[in-house]
């Protein structure tokens, strides 16, 4: 029996999808692959959540193109998370997407939460002032403590790797490169499980330590690489 009148609760883990829905995502079925990959990540997330009984996993999603808007907000319990497809078109206002995320991190995070996990998926270069928004994210306490994974999709030359690397400031692993739909699906599933498990462990480390996430060990896609972006 707990102390009478005491509210004991599990810690909340907030998971954010930041998804590129710009016009270039219409190329080679990228947006369809993205929708499919997010949908396929749900069972893995459920499993990851059930393996962490002391954490309550909430999923949020936002898309950015010529503007940024929430797709799932406020965050829903992973058990209740469904994915309705997003469509592509417009510019790549990634900075606006990060600003929208910052608004949420600055105002809606319970103080005893676990570090949030943020997964950014994009195939191109930001059309707006990404670095200004990134600077805001770095100044936000929860942004600074977050676990950030950037997944670039499409040909090497099309993705802005500098942006992807800067987004993953203070992380020990490099941005991930998905050349095809199978890799994208694997990476998103990996990010939504390993990063969740890592963040929800609640394990402390000294100040200035970077968040340790083991790099993904993915199987070679020999037979069916799926759509090549």
């Amino acid at each position: 029996m707990p102390v009478p009148g005491l509210n004991v609760s599990k810690r909340q883990l907030n998971f954010y999808y930041l998804l590129d829905a710009s016009g270039s995502m219409t190329t080679n079925g990228r947006i369809q692959s993205l929708n499919q990959s997010v949908r396929q990540s749900i069972p893995g997330m459920l499993e990851a959540a059930s393996s962490q009984p002391n954490a309550v996993l909430k999923v949020h999603a936002l898309e950015f193109s010529s503007d940024a808007k929430w797709k799932t907000h406020p965050g829903v319990l992973v058990e209740d998370f469904n994915w309705n497809d997003i469509s592509a078109g417009g510019a790549t206002m990634m900075g606006k997407g990060i600003d929208l995320l910052c608004d949420d991190l600055e105002t809606n995070m319970p103080s005893r939460s676990l570090p949030p996990v943020i997964v950014l998926v994009s195939d191109g270069h930001p059309s707006d002032n990404f670095d200004r928004s990134l600077s805001r994210l770095q100044k936000t306490p929860w942004g600074l403590k977050s676990v950030r994974i950037a997944i670039g999709m499409g040909p090497e030359s099309e993705v802005d790797w500098g942006v992807m690397k800067r987004f993953m400031f203070n992380m020990e692993i490099e941005p991930l490169h998905a050349h095809n739909s199978t890799e994208l699906s694997n990476f998103i599933s990996w990010a939504s499980t390993v990063a969740v498990i890592s963040s929800s462990s609640g394990a402390t480390s000294p100040q200035t330590s970077s968040t340790y996430i083991p790099a993904p060990e993915l199987m070679q896609t020999v037979i069916d690489p799926g759509d090549v972006f």
Binding site: L6, V8, K10, S113, K145, G202, T204, P206, Q207, S209
Partner: protein, 351 residues
């Protein structure tokens, strides 16, 4: 003279049970035979994978802290020694703990990895080795007529005074996320926080972060402090309190944060020694206020008194001089004229 009551309990976190990890928290305490000196300490070894020996690190931290305090006590005639400079003592005491902790961690590592057995192990720098043992530390001890609370990291410290008011002390490291200050970091002496309170009938509760992370907000912790204060002051037996504490911590571990949970209770309600009868209440509302020992306070009062007197003199002397000169200038002139020094007198007066 009655001894204070110090009780502590530590349970392994639910997360650590699943991962087959040991309890990385540690707690220890010591009370002198006379009850005139005591220390209580908790430490929380870092849970992330980069700190595989943090359970040893936390145990070393608590053991070294208690041993050092005992040595100090044994080498002093009494902890009520008036000459002890608290400001320097708390700093030096921490440095002593830190140095011994570093030394013992290195020794432990060497014993685990004897020379020639692993090249990888030998390649680690001293700071990398110490990181393997990373731990927070929080200790409370009696010195002179004060109680010193020192904490490095994210432990919680709550003090309930005689009036029933509870203050949450030393909470600067309550930033969101899982990073905290640690014994293994560079220059931890810069980040350790100290608080000095009067030795009075306090009830002190210190705990590792596993408990506070199980609660919605800090105010919930007040309920825990109140609950145990009532339990202890109602003369419950030590074993009953410990059993209750074990159950509570187990509940936090399973239904809350899942982290290791350690709590340490210090009850001075039975103590009558050296209690100050008058105590400012300001520390209840302002946790950053530190309380100096009586001797320093007396000195301060004398200094303030003398300063006020000096200020009064400085203010009144010019007035007196002005008054005197206004009344007696003609008199002085006449007197000086009589003495044949009129020229000189005029010059003085002109000036």
């Amino acid at each position: 003279m009655t001894k204070p009551l110090i009780l502590h309990s530590s349970v392994i976190g639910n997360t650590h049970i699943r991962k087959k990890l040991p309890n990385q928290d540690s707690a220890d305490s010591w009370i002198s035979p006379k009850g005139d000196a005591w220390i209580a300490v908790i430490a929380d070894g870092h849970g992330s994978s980069g700190h595989p020996y943090s359970d040893i690190g936390s145990k070393l931290a608590t053991k070294i802290t208690v041993n050092n305090y005992q040595s100090f006590y044994n080498n002093s005639t009494s902890t009520n020694t008036i000459g002890v400079d608290l400001i320097n003592f708390k700093h030096d005491f921490f440095l002593k703990i830190l140095n011994e902790w570093r030394r013992d961690c290195m020794l432990d590592y060497e014993s685990k990895h004897p020379q020639g057995t692993s090249k990888k192990a030998e390649l680690l720098s001293d700071s990398q080795i110490l990181r393997l043992y990373g731990s927070t530390i929080c200790y409370v001890y009696k010195l002179s007529d004060s109680i010193i609370i020192s904490t490095l990291g994210d432990s919680s410290v709550f003090v309930r005074n005689e009036s029933g008011l509870i203050s949450h002390l030393l909470f600067n490291d309550e930033s969101p996320g899982e990073s905290t200050n640690s014994l293994c970091q560079k220059n931890p002496e810069v980040d350790i926080e100290h608080q000095i309170i009067f030795d009075s009938n306090n009830f002190i509760l210190i705990s590792t972060d596993g408990i506070i992370k199980s609660l919605d907000n800090t105010n919930e912790f007040h309920k825990i402090a109140d609950y145990y204060y009532k339990l202890i002051s109602s003369s419950s037996s030590d074993s009953k309190i410990i059993n209750d504490l074990n159950e509570q911590l187990d509940y936090f571990s399973k239904n809350g944060s899942g982290d290791d949970c350690t709590a340490l209770l210090i009850y001075q309600g039975l103590s009558t020694i050296d209690s100050l009868k008058t105590k400012p209440e300001s520390f209840i509302t302002n946790p950053s206020v530190s309380f100096e020992p009586t001797l320093t306070r007396q000195k301060k009062t004398i200094i303030i008194g003398l300063s006020l007197l000096l200020l009064l003199l400085i203010l009144t002397i010019p007035l007196l001089i002005f008054q005197l000169t206004a009344i007696s200038k003609p008199r002085i002139l006449n007197l000086m004229k009589e003495m044949g020094t009129s020229k000189l007198a005029r010059k003085i007066c002109q000036k």
